[in-house]
């Protein structure tokens, strides 16, 4: 049985009923177990609630349960006959932008929650901006709590129009609105009884049918080398194997490639795996490559399409989300990790700060602090073979690491 994998992120606050939507999705697709339900029912009862609070399923840490808030990204898993799903559940509060960035970074799709009574809120705009910034092309607009507006079709249509007007300039490939009442189970997994006028797909049907994992397969070949192995060491037939994962594109034996940053060209001699050699392979596969020529390649180098090579530069512009509690100090050297390469670098001129509520650019901010998103220029000590994040997520992204504390202090998206 061939089942695909879809990774998605849910954005919204507890007030939008986000946890209830996830709870309903898991519950109705039978991914919540009796003992989990019993445990959260007991906890809910202790707190004087009459029903099981499904939010408790995703609030995994003691501090979260004590304070009734979500602090960190939680990952949940469920599967149907068609697809396996990985859900990144992220908190909606303003101060947790970095968690949303984390959750969105690996997601194929985002569900943006809206309360039918409240419509567009500043956080709805913020979530949509962040999701688009992180390169997610498909959004489900989940208009929840339809039961509280008497399942009114006109309300749904008005809220859809408002969101679509706002989202048009963001350039999503698809915005799929679904009306629902997660509390009553309408249009999440089951169709329910309240929304007979809605003829579209349920939330789960949307999740089962949207394209997954396709864009990277159609981009040019990018293969960052993780490790170099000596194969058949000590024999006359000794050769080097380059271990890595195909981050984008496809490759086949005989394909012409360029090794960067050296700029040497060669061709694929073989594609090896534990299960035997392959004639071709595609984005997402971990393989071992051998080349037709003896080339000096080490970890951090990139094997790329010769016809469509990436840029290879010692300076670049990027949007950066600052994670650290300590503000950016432009005088300090940082480590920049891109693909499998780690280089020393510096953050140069900061052009503007992005207001994530409005997408407005605030020119030349005097400081960059936690959760800020800025456009800046970067200089690195050795060239990086990169693409723009918009055209290639895996090869257009990097993290900043503090040389002294070793903390991950920022995430960047190349322009």
């Amino acid at each position: 049985m061939h089942t695909e994998l879809l990774r998605f992120i849910t954005c919204g606050s507890v007030d939008d009923g986000k946890s209830t939507v996830i709870g309903r999705l898991l519950f109705d697709s039978k991914a919540i177990f009796d003992d989990q339900l019993a445990a959260i029912t007991a906890t809910s009862k202790r707190r004087g609630l009459s029903e099981a609070d499904l939010a408790l399923l995703t609030d995994g840490l003691q501090a979260e349960r004590e304070q009734g808030i979500t602090i960190d990204v939680a990952y949940r898993f469920f599967a149907t006959r068609r697809r396996a799903f990985i859900v990144a559940d992220t908190p909606g509060h303003e101060q947790y932008t970095r968690n949303m960035v984390t959750g969105a970074s690996t997601a194929d799709l985002a569900i943006i929650l809206m309360d039918a009574r409240k419509g567009m809120l500043p956080q709805t705009r913020r979530h949509a901006h962040l999701v688009r910034l992180l390169g997610i092309r498909r959004v489900v607009l989940a208009i929840n709590k339809m039961d509280l507006v008497d399942y009114d079709q006109a309300t749904f249509e008005r809220l859809c129009d408002a969101f679509l007007d706002f989202a048009a300039p963001l350039g999503f490939d698809a915005v799929i609105p679904v009306p629902m009442s997660a509390l009553h189970g309408d249009m999440v997994v089951e169709r329910g009884t309240g929304l007979h006028w809605y003829l579209g797909k349920t939330l789960l049907q949307v999740l089962e049918s949207v394209p997954s994992d396709e864009e990277v397969a159609h981009a040019p070949l990018r293969f960052p080398v993780q490790l170099v192995q000596r194969l058949r060491a000590g024999t006359a037939d000794e050769r080097r194997g380059y271990l890595g994962r195909i981050e984008s594109g496809t490759l086949a034996v005989g394909d012409e490639v360029v090794v960067l940053p050296a700029g040497i060209t060669s061709a694929i001699s073989s594609i090896l795996t534990y299960d035997g050699p392959l004639p071709d392979a595609r984005a997402g596969q971990s393989v071992t490559l051998t080349l037709q020529d003896e080339v000096d390649i080490s970890r951090g180098d990139m094997i790329a399409s010769r016809a469509e090579p990436p840029r290879c530069e010692k300076s670049f512009d990027a949007l950066m989300c600052w994670f650290s509690a300590t503000p950016l100090d432009p005088a300090r050297r940082v480590l920049i990790r891109h693909g499998t390469r780690t280089v020393q670098g510096k953050v140069g001129a900061v052009a503007y700060k992005l207001d994530v509520n409005t997408s407005e650019q605030v020119p030349a901010p005097d400081h960059v602090s936690m959760n800020d998103i800025v456009k800046a220029q970067f200089r690195v000590q050795q060239p990086l073979a990169y693409d723009s994040y918009a055209s290639n997520r895996p090869n257009g992204s990097f993290i900043l690491i503090d040389e002294v504390s070793n903390d991950t202090i920022a995430a960047g998206m190349m322009l």
């Binding site: 049985m1 061939h2 089942t3 695909e4 994998l5 177990f33 009796d34 003992d35 989990q36 995994g60 840490l61 003691q62 501090a63 349960r65 602090i71 960190d72 990204v73 990952y75 949940r76 898993f77 599967a79 396996a84 968690n99 960035v101 984390t102 690996t106 997954s212 994992d213 396709e214 397969a217 993780q226 192995q229 194969l231 058949r232 271990l243 890595g244 994962r245 490759l251 086949a252 534990y274 299960d275 392959l278 071709d280 595609r282 997402g284 596969q285 971990s286 994670f323 990790r337 891109h338 499998t340 895996p394 992204s397 990097f398 993290i399 690491i401 070793n406 903390d407 991950t408 995430a411």
Partner: protein
């Protein structure tokens, strides 16, 4: 390994994905895990892979083969032996290590107790939590800067929030509120001397994925994972195996029941479930429709409070 069941093949996975077919979800999970193991081999100075003989670590060994064969693994295997293991599992562990020709280091909780490093109420008390002491001692003894483990996010709610590269300070402590952001697949493996990482390549796998993979790869697992008749007593909702370490309490009736284990940890806190599943296919069928979580059914030590696992992890546990 003729003494063990060879896994019944459920889905032979007839096509290996070529350039036109999207990858199957197990292929994607496998590839992610291989990528993570190779990152550890490249970025860490002195890693180890935790191998207990349990199903998750059996999958980890196959993933290590996929990541590094035909060469040897770039790390030794490490088992923290509670001294309360099922004998079938230890026999399996040793047979599998011999078959792979890799190096296994065993450090035992028994020794930690003898040396006064770990304290127990009595000989039959659960040693699950004590593993943390022995593990942290072993990490210090060998100066490991990373331990690869087979923990999964679907197992438990604290694990659901843990990073794939999970940072531990010099005391082996996990600080859930101060985790490194983990974005895209760019893992930060940098640590100072004395600090270390726990790395979980199969974080995103579920129990069902693990069994599907065991079936697809035809991996042998210890016999007690398959249905067998064993003396048990019923205690609450759980079936408690009757062993020297876990004798029946006064008034309990010993029954012979067909059971299998979903996890094979410390005997004193691991319970089997009622089952007649004698093949991987049958286990997958049961797992797909089960209504109780893996740990809920089988672990007495996770039942004590909402935060049992989180507290153990803060003390250095896996």
């Amino acid at each position: 390994m003729s003494s063990h069941h060879s896994a019944e093949v459920v889905d032979l996975h007839p096509h290996r994905a070529g350039r036109t077919e999207p990858l199957d979800h197990l292929d994607r999970l496998e590839s992610e895990a291989i990528h993570i193991m190779r990152e550890v081999a490249a970025e860490c100075r002195n890693p180890a892979l935790l191998f207990s003989g349990g199903k998750d670590s059996i999958v980890m060994l196959r993933l290590a083969e996929k990541a590094f064969r035909p060469n040897a693994f770039p790390f030794p295997l490490l088992h923290i032996d509670t001294g309360h293991n099922f004998p079938e599992v230890i026999a399996f562990r040793d047979a599998r290590v011999a078959e792979l020709g890799e190096r296994l280091i065993v450090r035992s909780v028994e020794d930690s107790i003898r040396q006064g490093r770990a304290r127990v109420k009595d000989a039959s008390a659960s040693r699950n939590a004590l593993q943390a002491v022995t593990l942290v001692d072993a990490i210090n003894e060998f100066q490991f800067d990373a331990c690869l483990g087979g923990a999964r996010r679907d197992e438990e709610k604290a694990r659901a929030k843990e990073r794939i590269f999970s940072f531990r300070d010099e005391f082996g402590v996990w600080d859930p509120k101060n985790q490194r952001p983990e974005i895209w697949n760019l893992y930060n493996a940098r640590v100072h001397p004395g600090e270390n990482l726990r790395v979980f390549p199969i974080s995103n796998w579920t129990e069902l994925d693990v069994w599907s993979y065991i079936g697809r790869e035809r991996l042998a697992v210890p016999e007690i994972y398959y249905a067998h008749v064993r003396p048990v007593v019923r205690r609450g909702a759980q079936l408690v195996p009757v062993t020297e370490l876990t004798p029946p309490l006064a008034g309990e009736v010993v029954e012979q029941v067909s059971v299998r284990f979903r996890t094979v940890g410390d005997i004193t806190c691991t319970c089997p479930v009622s089952s007649t599943a004698a093949t991987v296919a049958a286990i997958i069928a049961e797992t797909a429709v089960t209504s109780i979580t893996e740990r809920g059914a089988t672990r007495m030590d996770d039942q004590t409070s909402d935060a049992s696992m989180e507290l153990r992890k803060k003390q250095g546990y896996f």
